[in-house]
Protein backbone atom coordinates (compact mmCIF):
# COMPACT_ATOMS: atom_id res chain seq x y z
CA UNK A 1 0.00 0.00 0.00
CA UNK A 2 2.61 2.57 1.01
CA UNK A 3 4.61 1.72 -2.07
CA UNK A 4 1.54 2.33 -4.20
CA UNK A 5 0.96 5.64 -2.40
CA UNK A 6 4.57 6.70 -2.91
CA UNK A 7 4.51 5.82 -6.60
CA UNK A 8 1.27 7.74 -7.20
CA UNK A 9 2.52 10.69 -5.16
CA UNK A 10 5.65 10.86 -7.26
CA UNK A 11 3.60 10.51 -10.46
CA UNK A 12 1.25 13.28 -9.37
CA UNK A 13 3.93 15.73 -8.35
CA UNK A 14 6.08 15.02 -11.42
CA UNK A 15 3.17 15.47 -13.80
CA UNK A 16 2.07 18.59 -11.91
CA UNK A 17 5.53 20.07 -12.32
CA UNK A 18 5.46 19.10 -16.00
CA UNK A 19 2.03 20.74 -16.37
CA UNK A 20 3.39 23.90 -14.98
CA UNK A 21 6.63 24.00 -16.88
CA UNK A 22 6.03 22.40 -20.26
CA UNK A 23 6.02 24.93 -23.09
CA UNK A 24 3.68 23.03 -25.35
CA UNK A 25 0.20 23.55 -24.00
CA UNK A 26 -1.21 20.28 -25.26
CA UNK A 27 1.54 18.44 -23.46
CA UNK A 28 0.64 20.48 -20.38
CA UNK A 29 -2.98 19.36 -20.75
CA UNK A 30 -1.90 15.75 -21.14
CA UNK A 31 0.32 15.94 -18.13
CA UNK A 32 -2.67 17.33 -16.26
CA UNK A 33 -4.58 14.22 -17.31
CA UNK A 34 -1.87 12.01 -15.87
CA UNK A 35 -1.89 14.07 -12.65
CA UNK A 36 -5.66 13.66 -12.41
CA UNK A 37 -5.25 9.96 -13.02
CA UNK A 38 -2.83 9.86 -10.08
CA UNK A 39 -5.35 11.69 -7.89
CA UNK A 40 -8.02 9.16 -8.94
CA UNK A 41 -5.72 6.38 -7.79
CA UNK A 42 -5.23 8.23 -4.50
CA UNK A 43 -8.99 8.31 -4.02
CA UNK A 44 -9.09 4.59 -4.66
CA UNK A 45 -6.36 4.19 -2.01
CA UNK A 46 -8.49 6.16 0.37
CA UNK A 47 -11.35 3.72 -0.21
CA UNK A 48 -13.36 6.43 -1.99
CA UNK A 49 -14.08 4.31 -5.03
CA UNK A 50 -17.00 6.34 -6.22
CA UNK A 51 -14.97 9.51 -6.06
CA UNK A 52 -12.12 7.93 -8.00
CA UNK A 53 -14.40 6.97 -10.86
CA UNK A 54 -16.24 10.27 -10.73
CA UNK A 55 -12.86 12.00 -10.80
CA UNK A 56 -11.93 10.10 -13.92
CA UNK A 57 -15.28 10.72 -15.59
CA UNK A 58 -15.47 14.39 -14.77
CA UNK A 59 -11.94 15.58 -14.82
CA UNK A 60 -10.40 13.41 -17.46
CA UNK A 61 -13.56 12.78 -19.42
CA UNK A 62 -14.79 16.34 -19.56
CA UNK A 63 -12.51 18.98 -18.14
CA UNK A 64 -9.24 17.76 -19.66
CA UNK A 65 -10.88 17.40 -23.05
CA UNK A 66 -12.39 20.86 -22.61
CA UNK A 67 -8.91 22.15 -21.98
CA UNK A 68 -7.58 20.53 -25.08
CA UNK A 69 -10.48 21.96 -27.07
CA UNK A 70 -9.72 25.39 -25.63
CA UNK A 71 -6.05 25.08 -26.43
CA UNK A 72 -6.89 24.12 -29.99
CA UNK A 73 -9.31 27.01 -30.41
CA UNK A 74 -7.02 29.69 -29.11
CA UNK A 75 -3.81 29.01 -31.01
CA UNK A 76 -2.66 31.31 -33.81
CA UNK A 77 -0.27 28.80 -35.22
CA UNK A 78 -0.06 25.19 -34.29
CA UNK A 79 3.25 25.86 -32.60
CA UNK A 80 3.31 27.49 -29.24
CA UNK A 81 5.46 30.62 -29.18
CA UNK A 82 7.38 32.49 -26.54
CA UNK A 83 8.53 31.40 -23.17
CA UNK A 84 6.13 29.49 -21.02
CA UNK A 85 6.71 31.55 -17.97
CA UNK A 86 6.37 35.30 -17.60
CA UNK A 87 9.24 37.53 -16.69
CA UNK A 88 9.26 37.58 -12.94
CA UNK A 89 8.49 33.87 -12.58
CA UNK A 90 11.14 33.46 -9.90
CA UNK A 91 9.07 35.72 -7.62
CA UNK A 92 6.14 33.39 -8.15
CA UNK A 93 8.36 30.42 -7.45
CA UNK A 94 9.53 32.05 -4.24
CA UNK A 95 5.98 32.81 -3.14
CA UNK A 96 4.72 29.32 -3.92
CA UNK A 97 7.60 27.77 -1.97
CA UNK A 98 6.84 30.16 0.87
CA UNK A 99 3.16 29.13 0.75
CA UNK A 100 4.15 25.48 0.77
CA UNK A 101 6.42 26.09 3.75
CA UNK A 102 3.70 28.07 5.51
CA UNK A 103 1.05 25.40 4.85
CA UNK A 104 3.35 22.60 5.92
CA UNK A 105 4.23 24.47 9.07
CA UNK A 106 0.60 25.21 9.79
CA UNK A 107 -0.47 21.65 9.22
CA UNK A 108 2.37 20.24 11.26
CA UNK A 109 1.43 22.44 14.10
CA UNK A 110 -2.06 20.93 13.84
CA UNK A 111 -2.69 18.28 16.47
CA UNK A 112 -4.11 15.51 14.32
CA UNK A 113 -1.28 15.82 11.86
CA UNK A 114 0.11 12.34 11.89
CA UNK A 115 -3.02 10.48 12.58
CA UNK A 116 -3.57 6.89 11.52
CA UNK A 117 -6.59 6.15 9.38
CA UNK A 118 -9.77 5.46 11.33
CA UNK A 119 -11.35 2.00 10.88
CA UNK A 120 -14.19 1.74 8.43
CA UNK A 121 -17.17 -0.03 10.00
CA UNK A 122 -17.89 -3.29 8.14
CA UNK A 123 -20.77 -3.23 5.68
CA UNK A 124 -20.41 0.51 5.37
CA UNK A 125 -21.12 1.40 1.77
CA UNK A 126 -19.67 4.84 1.10
CA UNK A 127 -21.61 5.27 -2.14
CA UNK A 128 -25.05 4.63 -0.65
CA UNK A 129 -24.17 6.76 2.36
CA UNK A 130 -23.11 9.51 -0.01
CA UNK A 131 -26.31 9.10 -2.00
CA UNK A 132 -28.40 9.36 1.15
CA UNK A 133 -26.45 12.42 2.34
CA UNK A 134 -26.93 14.20 -0.94
CA UNK A 135 -30.67 13.50 -1.06
CA UNK A 136 -31.96 13.52 2.51
CA UNK A 137 -33.40 16.92 3.33
CA UNK A 138 -31.69 17.33 6.68
CA UNK A 139 -28.26 16.68 5.23
CA UNK A 140 -27.01 18.13 1.98
CA UNK A 141 -29.97 18.38 -0.37
CA UNK A 142 -29.80 22.19 -0.51
CA UNK A 143 -26.12 22.39 -1.54
CA UNK A 144 -26.85 19.63 -4.03
CA UNK A 145 -29.70 21.61 -5.62
CA UNK A 146 -27.68 24.81 -5.53
CA UNK A 147 -24.81 23.00 -7.22
CA UNK A 148 -27.21 21.90 -9.97
CA UNK A 149 -28.41 25.50 -10.41
CA UNK A 150 -24.76 26.61 -10.51
CA UNK A 151 -23.99 24.08 -13.24
CA UNK A 152 -26.96 25.18 -15.32
CA UNK A 153 -25.97 28.82 -14.94
CA UNK A 154 -22.37 28.04 -15.87
CA UNK A 155 -23.61 26.10 -18.86
CA UNK A 156 -25.77 28.95 -20.12
CA UNK A 157 -23.09 31.51 -19.33
CA UNK A 158 -20.36 29.63 -21.13
CA UNK A 159 -22.54 29.18 -24.20
CA UNK A 160 -23.57 32.79 -24.22
CA UNK A 161 -20.01 34.13 -23.80
CA UNK A 162 -18.37 31.84 -26.27
CA UNK A 163 -21.15 31.84 -28.85
CA UNK A 164 -20.12 33.85 -31.90
CA UNK A 165 -23.26 34.29 -34.04
CA UNK A 166 -21.38 35.32 -37.19
CA UNK A 167 -18.61 32.83 -37.57
CA UNK A 168 -20.57 29.70 -36.56
CA UNK A 169 -19.57 28.13 -33.29
CA UNK A 170 -15.80 28.05 -33.65
CA UNK A 171 -13.54 30.72 -35.09
CA UNK A 172 -11.69 29.69 -38.20
CA UNK A 173 -8.90 27.54 -36.82
CA UNK A 174 -5.52 28.78 -37.85
CA UNK A 175 -6.97 32.24 -38.41
CA UNK A 176 -3.59 33.75 -38.99
CA UNK A 177 -3.59 37.44 -38.12
CA UNK A 178 -3.43 39.72 -41.12
CA UNK A 179 -0.49 42.12 -41.28
CA UNK A 180 -0.96 45.06 -38.93
CA UNK A 181 -3.98 43.43 -37.41
CA UNK A 182 -3.24 44.82 -33.98
CA UNK A 183 -5.73 43.74 -31.31
CA UNK A 184 -8.08 46.67 -31.92
CA UNK A 185 -10.05 47.40 -28.77
CA UNK A 186 -13.71 46.51 -29.27
CA UNK A 187 -13.03 44.60 -32.45
CA UNK A 188 -16.46 44.92 -33.96
CA UNK A 189 -16.23 42.31 -36.70
CA UNK A 190 -19.31 40.61 -35.18
Amino acid sequence: MTILFLITAVVILASAVMVVTSRNLVHAALWLVSALFGVAVLYALLNAGFLAVVQVVIYIGAIAILFIFAVMLTRREMRDTGPGLNKNWWVSALTSILTFGGLAFLLSSWSGFSQTPAAIPSGFDAVSALGDALISPDAFVLPFEVASVLLVAALVGAVYIAFNPRAGDSPRAGDSPRAGDSPRAGDSRK
Binding site: T2, F5, I12, L13, A16, V19, V20, A28, L32, L36, L42, L46, A48, L51, V54, I58, Y59, A62, I63, L66, F67, A70, L73, R76, G82, G84, N86, W89, S92, A93, T95, S96, F100, S108, G112, F113, S114, Q115, T116, P117, A118, I120, P121, F124, A126, A129, L130, A133, A139, F140, A147, L151, A154, L155, A158, I161, N164, P171, P183, D187
Partner: protein, 102 residues
Amino acid sequence: MIPLSWYLILSAALFSIGLFGVLARRNAIAILLGVELMLNAVNINLVAFWRYLDPVKITGQVFAIIVFAVAAAEVAVGLALVISVYRNRKTVVADELDMMKW
Protein backbone atom coordinates in the same frame (compact mmCIF):
# COMPACT_ATOMS: atom_id res chain seq x y z
CA MET B 1 -0.36 2.44 7.36
CA ILE B 2 0.08 5.74 5.77
CA PRO B 3 -0.32 8.57 8.24
CA LEU B 4 -2.52 11.50 7.33
CA SER B 5 0.47 13.83 7.21
CA TRP B 6 1.70 12.33 3.97
CA TYR B 7 -1.54 13.18 2.23
CA LEU B 8 -1.52 16.70 3.65
CA ILE B 9 2.04 17.31 2.59
CA LEU B 10 1.27 15.87 -0.86
CA SER B 11 -1.76 18.13 -1.28
CA ALA B 12 0.18 21.16 -0.01
CA ALA B 13 2.90 20.44 -2.54
CA LEU B 14 0.37 19.96 -5.32
CA PHE B 15 -1.34 23.16 -4.22
CA SER B 16 1.85 25.22 -4.31
CA ILE B 17 2.81 23.75 -7.69
CA GLY B 18 -0.61 24.73 -8.97
CA LEU B 19 -0.09 28.15 -7.40
CA PHE B 20 3.23 28.53 -9.17
CA GLY B 21 1.53 27.52 -12.39
CA VAL B 22 -1.11 30.19 -11.87
CA LEU B 23 1.37 32.88 -10.97
CA ALA B 24 4.10 32.10 -13.52
CA ARG B 25 2.46 30.84 -16.69
CA ARG B 26 1.97 33.33 -19.48
CA ASN B 27 -0.89 31.60 -21.22
CA ALA B 28 -4.36 32.12 -19.73
CA ILE B 29 -5.29 28.48 -20.23
CA ALA B 30 -2.13 27.41 -18.41
CA ILE B 31 -3.35 29.54 -15.53
CA LEU B 32 -6.62 27.63 -15.58
CA LEU B 33 -4.61 24.40 -15.56
CA GLY B 34 -2.88 25.64 -12.43
CA VAL B 35 -6.25 26.37 -10.87
CA GLU B 36 -7.36 22.83 -11.67
CA LEU B 37 -4.31 21.46 -9.88
CA MET B 38 -5.04 23.58 -6.85
CA LEU B 39 -8.64 22.39 -6.76
CA ASN B 40 -7.49 18.77 -6.94
CA ALA B 41 -5.12 19.40 -4.06
CA VAL B 42 -8.09 20.65 -2.03
CA ASN B 43 -10.05 17.56 -2.98
CA ILE B 44 -7.28 15.27 -1.87
CA ASN B 45 -7.27 17.03 1.47
CA LEU B 46 -11.02 16.70 1.82
CA VAL B 47 -11.12 13.00 1.04
CA ALA B 48 -8.06 12.39 3.23
CA PHE B 49 -9.76 14.14 6.12
CA TRP B 50 -12.93 12.13 5.44
CA ARG B 51 -11.05 8.91 5.40
CA TYR B 52 -8.77 9.61 8.38
CA LEU B 53 -11.06 11.46 10.73
CA ASP B 54 -14.50 10.00 10.59
CA PRO B 55 -15.44 7.83 7.59
CA VAL B 56 -19.02 7.39 8.78
CA LYS B 57 -19.79 11.05 8.31
CA ILE B 58 -19.38 11.43 4.56
CA THR B 59 -19.42 15.22 4.64
CA GLY B 60 -15.89 15.13 3.32
CA GLN B 61 -17.06 13.29 0.23
CA VAL B 62 -20.05 15.62 -0.21
CA PHE B 63 -17.65 18.51 -0.09
CA ALA B 64 -15.50 16.81 -2.72
CA ILE B 65 -18.55 16.30 -4.93
CA ILE B 66 -19.51 19.94 -4.58
CA VAL B 67 -15.92 20.94 -5.39
CA PHE B 68 -16.16 18.77 -8.49
CA ALA B 69 -19.28 20.62 -9.58
CA VAL B 70 -17.81 24.00 -8.89
CA ALA B 71 -14.54 23.12 -10.63
CA ALA B 72 -16.41 21.93 -13.71
CA ALA B 73 -18.53 25.10 -13.81
CA GLU B 74 -15.47 27.26 -13.25
CA VAL B 75 -13.50 25.65 -16.03
CA ALA B 76 -16.43 25.90 -18.43
CA VAL B 77 -16.95 29.59 -17.82
CA GLY B 78 -13.22 30.30 -17.65
CA LEU B 79 -12.52 28.71 -20.96
CA ALA B 80 -15.52 30.40 -22.54
CA LEU B 81 -14.15 33.73 -21.38
CA VAL B 82 -10.71 32.94 -22.64
CA ILE B 83 -12.07 31.97 -26.03
CA SER B 84 -14.13 35.18 -26.37
CA VAL B 85 -11.12 37.22 -25.19
CA TYR B 86 -9.03 35.46 -27.82
CA ARG B 87 -11.67 36.23 -30.43
CA ASN B 88 -11.63 39.92 -29.53
CA ARG B 89 -7.98 40.38 -28.68
CA LYS B 90 -6.28 37.73 -30.82
CA THR B 91 -4.18 36.81 -27.79
CA VAL B 92 -4.50 34.79 -24.62
CA VAL B 93 -1.25 35.85 -23.04
CA ALA B 94 -2.19 37.13 -19.60
CA ASP B 95 0.32 39.98 -19.69
CA GLU B 96 -1.17 41.35 -22.88
CA LEU B 97 -4.68 41.33 -21.45
CA ASP B 98 -4.05 44.41 -19.36
CA MET B 99 -6.94 46.64 -20.56
CA MET B 100 -7.91 47.17 -16.95
CA LYS B 101 -4.60 49.02 -16.56
CA TRP B 102 -4.99 52.50 -15.18
